[in-house]
Structures are given as C-alpha cells and as structure tokens.
C-alpha cells in the first residue's frame, strides 16, 4: 500500500479516538453514552493495532 494512503488512514484513526474521547467527556455521567463510546474505542484500538502500528515500522 502507498505510504501516504497509510498515513491518511492513521490520521483518520487518531481523529476517531480524539472525537470518541471528547464525546465520552461531554457525556460524562450518562451511562448510555459512556458505554457506547467504550465499545467504539475498543474497535479504534483494533484499528490502531491493524493499521497505525504498521505505519510506525515502515
């Protein structure tokens, strides 16, 4: 894969984490929000493992 494409993907993943964490902070105290974000973040974690980790060793 093109390295610039990989970098773009990683930027989007970072943004997803930032946005999800911001949403969790904004919704603090609303369990429905906090737990839904936890599940989103578990998948962001997998994107980091599957994509961002690779970028760092190329």
């Amino acid at each position: 894969m093109d390295i610039s494409m990989l970098e773009e993907m990683c930027e989007l993943i970072k943004k997803m984490r930032r946005d999800a964490e911001a949403l969790k902070a904004k919704g603090k105290g609303i369990m429905a929000v906090e737990k839904a974000v936890d599940r989103i973040l578990a998948n962001v974690n997998l994107l980091e493992i599957n994509v961002c980790d690779v970028k760092e060793v190329l």
Binding site: M1, N43, I49
Partner: protein, 447 residues
C-alpha cells in the same frame, strides 16, 4: 453470488516483510512489558526481583532477558486480591467484562479476565484465522459447543460474526439435534474438537442414518482444542467422514488464538506473529532455537491482551519451526505439524520417550479401527506395562487378527515400544466432546 476470493484479512500485517515484522514485534513487546510493569503488581514485583526494568529491553534479542512465567504462578496469584484473579490483572476490576477459565486438564483452573477491549481483540484474532481458512460473509457457521465457562469456541463465535458470517449457536442441543439443525439450515462450516468432529460423524451414520459427506453441506471445519487436527491420519478421517476440508487451529486460554492453518495447508500452521511472539526453547540447554526442524518448548507472549497480560509464558508445548514456506504469501512463520507434544506429557515408558500423539497417529491411520482408543500405562511388578484399548469397525470383526498384527507392527515402528492390545465392542469406549482424556499414566498413583 460468487465467494469473496481475496486472500488476506489484513494484508498490511499478513504480508509485512520479515525484518519489518521483527521490528513490529520488538515495539509491541516493549509496549506490553511497559503496560504490565506499570499496571500489574504481580509483574512489577516479578521483574523487580529479577532486576529488570522495561527500559532494559531495547532490541529483539533483549527479549530473552525477560524472565518466563508459568501456569503455576497464575494459580498462586489467584489466592491474592483482587478476587478472583489476583494481582496479575492490570486493569481496575470494574473494567473486567468477561470471566473465563482454563479446562483444568493439568490442575486447578486458571481464571481469565477480559475487558471489552480484550474481547474484541479475541474476536479479531479469530478473523485472521477464519479468513485464512476460507470463511467468508456468505458462510453459515454452526457452533456445536456448550457455551460454558471455558473460552473454547466463544471467541470463534464472535470472530465469525465479526467477519460477517451467519452464526448459529448450537449450545443446549444434543448431538443428534445439532446434526439435524446443520442439515436443515444448510450450514457450510462448523468448529469443534477433533474428537467431537469424528463423534458427530459417527452419530450421524449410526443414529440418524445420515452420511455427513453426502447429506450435509459442510465444506469447511475448524478443529481446535486437541492435537488431532495436526495429525494427518486423524485429519484424513475427519475429512473423509464429512467430505469437507479440515483446518487446524491452536490456541491457549491464558494467551489467545495464536496459530492456524490456511487453505494452502503446507503441512504446518502459521503463527499470528503480528499479535503474538512465539519463541522456541531447547528442552535441555534453554537456548532459543531460530533454525527450523529442532523441537523445543514454546514460550509465548500476547502483545495486546491488557486485563491479564501473558508475557513469556512457558506453555510446555513442544513445537518446531517448519523448514518450508507457505505459498499463501503470508510472511508469518510456520510451525511444522502443529503441537508435537507437551514437555510434561512426553513420558518415559520402558526407558523410551513416548508422546501420546504418536499412538493417536498410528491408531487413526488404520481405517479398520474405530475412532476411539485408550492408553493405560501401569506397573506390572517392576516393569512398565502399556495397555492399548481399541475398537474394530463394524463389519471388520472377522479381520481382527490381521488388524491387530498390523497395529502392533506400526506401533513398534513409530514408538519403539510393545503394547498389550485389548479389543472392545464398537461404541463402548468413552466418547468426549472436549479435551479427551485417552492417555492415563497410573504408575505414580500405584507407587
């Protein structure tokens, strides 16, 4: 609709050049070591006592400086807080969302804590396995599994769902009902232990009058939980009985789903090296074996498991690197023939080292013998005695003498040992669903 022909679940990791993969492994090892040191009191004390700090690990070779941990430590630590896992866990207890435990085959069960991150990770590792074995969104997958306290096929279920398959949980059904559901729903794949895969075929034929190879639509089977899927004779029996391809998978509750066959089946299993580090240690010298072809004990690290990290876990499983590559194009290394044995299973009988898997390989290679057998090692006076109990397939009883003679010859060739063989009526030896206990060494109990 034609089946998705893509090869890789994640080409970014699965085709990463070897030197990059090694760099990735070093980076991930350092990350999990740092995580465990910072968050798990057990690991922090363990490494402090060994005079090790995470910053000491700079290169791939440095990883060997990290002390190994064993299952006994996991059991001991369970006596401590927080209940019931002990201080090996590296997350606040309220973050744990799933409890599982080992089967207890080798002693007191070890409890496993998973956060939601861990559980998604388990499912993801199964996606790598199932995609490599040909599972696609168009598959309808049956899980003939008890959905109990053991992790077993729970993660496989979630992995298949994550991949996009249609998953049917065959939990509280008996074997006949499971087979009938698989038939009625035209399932294309299922997953079970080798023992149960053979047992289901037997039940289909003898109790339901069905020939699984002809009357069902199963094209792929994933076998796990026992070494049978790595034993060519056992695999052949399963494939013939079901008219399907059988792919092996090897996992460990304490570690994760770390190895699998792909559709190319070159004779070995890939190690999911982007998620796990497998090291092979010489049984006598303790040296790490890099070259293919030499048996040693597997030391494994799970890179991404956070609630209960597994770092340099001494599994006691005996494996060897394969001398061949896989045409599938994955750069993940292969182990040759799966788990060759267990360091604590390989036992000396009559002065000869005996691996129970060698007996299975012989029995299952003789089609006139039934799928089940039992081995009992005992003392007759001062001498070791090996009793092998087998069944002869229906209709072959008249050939008993020649079958037994062939069996004894093959056992002598493969294991260098003589056996007393008892023939039992077909269907009378125990049938197992998980973790068959066919090898019983009662010498220690007698003394």
């Amino acid at each position: 609709m034609p089946k998705d022909q893509r090869i890789y679940w994640n080409p970014l990791l699965e085709t990463l050049p070897r030197e990059k993969l090694r760099a990735l492994q070093t980076k991930k090892f350092r990350r999990i070591l740092d995580w465990a040191y910072s968050n798990s009191p057990f690991y922090r004390n363990f490494y402090k006592e060994a005079g090790l700090e995470p910053g000491d690990i700079k290169t791939f070779e440095d990883i060997r400086k990290v002390p190994k941990m064993e299952k006994g430590m996991m059991r001991e630590v369970q006596q401590k807080d927080p209940f019931p896992y002990g201080d090996m866990i590296a997350v606040p207890i309220e973050k744990v969302t799933a409890f599982r435990q080992t089967s207890g085959t080798t002693g007191t069960p070890v409890y496993q804590a998973c956060t939601w991150d861990d559980w998604e990770w388990w499912a993801e590792t199964w996606c790598y396995i199932l995609y490599a074995q040909g599972y696609r969104e168009s598959d309808r997958v049956f899980l003939p599994f008890g959905y109990n306290i053991f992790v077993a096929f729970w993660a496989a279920h979630y992995g298949a769902e994550r991949l996009g398959c249609e998953v049917i949980p065959g939990g509280a059904l008996n074997t006949e009902a499971r087979i009938l559901r698989m038939k009625d729903l035209k399932c294309t794949a299922f997953m079970a232990t080798p023992t149960y895969i053979l047992g289901m075929a037997e039940t289909a034929k003898n109790k339901l009058g069905l020939d699984p190879a002809r009357d069902l639509d199963i094209a792929m089977i994933t076998s796990a939980g026992e070494p049978g899927g790595c034993i060519p004779a056992t695999k052949k029996r399963m494939e013939e009985a079901w008219g399907a391809k059988v792919y092996d998978h090897i996992g460990l509750t304490e570690v994760g789903s770390w190895s699998y066959e792909c559709t190319e089946q070159p004779g070995g299993q890939h190690v999911l090296e982007a998620y796990f580090l497998v090291e092979i240690e010489d049984l006598e010298t303790g040296e790490i074996i890099e070259k293919p072809g030499r048996n040693g004990k597997m030391i494994i690290t799970s890179f991404d498991r956070l609630a209960k990290p597994s770092i340099r876990f001494d599994t006691k499983d005996v494996i060897r690197w394969a001398e061949y590559d896989c045409p599938c194009g994955r750069t993940f290394r292969l182990i040759d023939g799966g788990i060759v044995g267990r360091a604590d299973d390989i036992t000396k009988v009559k002065g000869v080292l005996l691996a129970p898997t060698a007996i299975e390989a012989v029995v299952r290679s003789i089609p006139e013998l039934g799928p089940e057998f039992e081995v009992i090692v005992s003392k007759k006076g001062e001498l070791d005695d090996i009793l092998l109990r087998v069944e002869i397939m229906p209709g072959k009883e008249g050939e008993e003498q020649s079958i037994l003679s062939h069996l004894k010859d093959q056992l002598r060739v493969r294991t260098n040992l003589g056996y007393r063989v008892e023939v039992h009526p077909y269907g009378s030896l125990p049938r197992y669903e998980v973790k068959a206990k066919r090898f019983k060494d009662i010498r220690k109990k007698e003394t």
